[in-house]
């Protein structure tokens, strides 16, 4: 069907935009908060024997934060997605519940006159995350500052990572944390967002070349022209190199998986995917041969019981937790038998929140969390498929895949499906950098879902000369 389909939307009126009701979002948010309230009630009843919420102020503040975010989105008047915020709130809320349930002295921070425990800090970060996501969703209108400065962004991200390598402090044998004054953060979390922006901008600009100007290697096997693959390959190699040296294998795996997915989305060539997977297998073998800590990870994965009190300890405890939980779990507050006042899994709040969920909410709860990630990813891919230009499409797809792949990597690690790599469960784990990075992802996805925003004019003429075919020939 060719023809005039629709007239242009009326030009935006100057001044304040008209609020746009978001009933679906409000309904879903209410459903999420009610479910969390019942969970909190269950925890409170178990702890005190009286029907009361476990942490009424915390839940109330969280609900208030969600309401403020919802109202801000309504007032902004933009046509933004209405399922993303509830899905993120679902995950954040479960995370909050788990952090309130865990021993509060796992993380303690002094903040002025207050001493904040694990649950309070998680609530604080959730508030910051909501503010960041909502601000981006309301303010982000033009792709320009992301798209045109892609090399600047990539350089800044790599610089941040290099700074961590030089000045960072070591935790558990990995140099991941950068401390600036009172703030400590893990730059690799932010780097994942920056890399997706870079990949999306670069691939969008060169998509046609990468997909159709192929260089023949052997027989039917073709690869994209290497000159156009080189910048992105170099960036990836640099990021992976630094991350591997820092022993942050989870981040390395995440970066590579998302890169491969975006390349496939941009070119649509199955051979690229297969070639990428082969390269991954080679790289994995080389890493395993070169670095002893990679070998240790693999050995622990294959047989954690060979060193039950050392390297296999956390994983065995996590498996026990999942086993105790069974189908429906032992109930909030009833699980996690503590050894000498500590939970048996030291990193339960950062790397193993899924084990806590598995024990107290059972497989039903674990599947609910995984289903929420599926909702987020489906939403992101839908935003991508209805985007109007390549950059927005690739960016939306990349951002949602970052969350999905990261969840899959750490969930698989916790369940001994793949070797364990220490990354966070997005939006659930305790951790400021992780929460902030994922808030940026959710905020950008929300902003990208606005189809009313005018797309950016093409940044510069494509390299037409290189694509010219024989004159007179068919395209």
């Amino acid at each position: 069907m060719t023809g005039r389909v629709a007239d242009a939307p009326a030009p935006a009126l100057p001044g304040f935009p008209r609020p746009r009701a978001r009933r679906r979002e409000l309904g879903l948010l209410v459903a999420v908060v009610v479910a969390l309230a019942i969970g909190s009630l269950s925890l409170g009843l178990f702890r005190t024997g009286r029907p009361e919420l476990a942490d009424p102020q915390g839940l109330l503040l969280f609900a208030a934060g969600l309401l403020v975010a919802h109202v801000a989105l309504v007032v902004s008047g933009r046509r933004l997605d209405e399922v993303l915020l509830p899905a993120a709130a679902f995950l954040g809320g479960i995370g909050l519940l788990v952090m309130e349930r865990l021993p509060q002295d796992l993380v303690v921070q002094e903040l002025g006159p207050w001493t904040l425990g694990l649950g309070d800090l998680q609530l604080l970060w959730l508030g910051v995350a909501l503010a960041v996501a909502t601000t981006i969703a309301v303010v982000y209108r033009s792709d320009r500052w992301l798209r045109l400065y892609k090399y600047t962004w990539a350089a800044a991200g790599l610089l941040l990572l290099a700074l961590t390598f030089v000045f960072g402090s070591e935790v558990n044998g990995s140099r991941l944390t950068l401390e600036i004054g009172p703030f400590a953060g893990q730059p690799s979390e932010l780097l994942k967002v920056i890399l997706v922006v870079f990949f999306a901008a670069y691939l969008a600009e060169n998509r046609v070349l990468l997909a159709d100007a192929r260089v023949r290697v052997v027989g039917p096997l073709t690869v994209p022209p290497l000159a156009y693959l080189a910048p992105i390959g170099a960036m990836l190699a640099l990021a992976l190199g630094i991350v591997v040296i820092q022993r942050d294998l989870g981040a390395a795996l995440l970066f590579y998986a998302v890169f491969l997915a975006l390349l496939f989305l941009a070119t649509g060539r199955l051979t690229d995917m297969i070639l990428g997977l082969l390269l991954f297998a080679v790289g994995f073998l080389v890493l395993a041969a070169l670095f002893p800590h990679v070998q240790e990870r693999i050995a622990t994965w294959l047989d954690p019981w060979s060193d039950p009190l050392g390297s296999g300890y956390q994983l065995i405890q996590a498996l026990h937790a999942f086993a105790r939980g069974g189908l429906v779990g032992v109930g909030l507050g009833a699980g996690l038998p503590e050894i000498a006042g500590r939970p048996p899994i030291p990193a339960i709040h950062t790397d193993f929140p899924l084990a806590a969920i598995g024990e107290e909410m059972g497989m039903t709860g674990v599947l609910a969390v995984l289903a929420a990630y599926l909702v987020l990813v489906e939403r992101g891919l839908r935003i991508a498929s209805s985007s109007r230009d390549d950059f927005r499409a690739l960016l939306a797809a990349g951002l949602s895949l970052v969350i999905g792949v990261q969840a899959a990597i750490i969930a698989g690690g916790n369940l001994k499906l793949i070797p364990l790599t220490g990354i966070t469960l997005p939006l659930v784990s305790y951790g400021g950098s992780s929460m902030l990075a994922n808030a940026i992802v959710v905020g950008l996805l929300l902003a990208l879902s606005d189809r009313g925003a005018a797309p950016l004019a093409p940044p510069r003429p494509p390299r037409l000369a290189r694509l010219r075919r024989r004159p007179g020939g068919t395209p």
Binding site: I94, A204, D212, A372, R382, S387, D390, R469, P475
Partner: protein, 145 residues
Amino acid sequence: MDAGLNVALWVLRFAFLALLWLALALMARALLRDVRAASRDPAGSLGRLVVVASSGQPAPGAVFALDAVTTLGRDLGSSVVVDDPYASAHHAVLTFRGRAWYVEDLRSTNGTHVNGAPVAGVAALAYGDEIRIGGIRFRLERGRG
């Protein structure tokens, strides 16, 4: 622990899990609705041509859903009739081949421009590119879902 408390704890445990899944089911219903709405959407799936700026017809803001072969020109038989003094009768043709759109200039008098550069023969297009024919500027956009 007395029996009443135990029963209450059991009820709350299952109510919590059930409500979590209820919230997810509501989200899934919202997703399903959008999938159905997208599949009913008649707009072309290959791509759309949006008029960005124009001195005549079509007017700015007009949107054309694209077929795999779409002809542009002043001739009334063209898929997209470009009513501009600088447009030829058979000016250019847009084709979707394999994975990308291509524009071919049909030896028009005043030429076809992509992002400001004149097209000689055939040029590949990316979504978001601007095509200019005479005084009319089009933008190629991805089709819906």
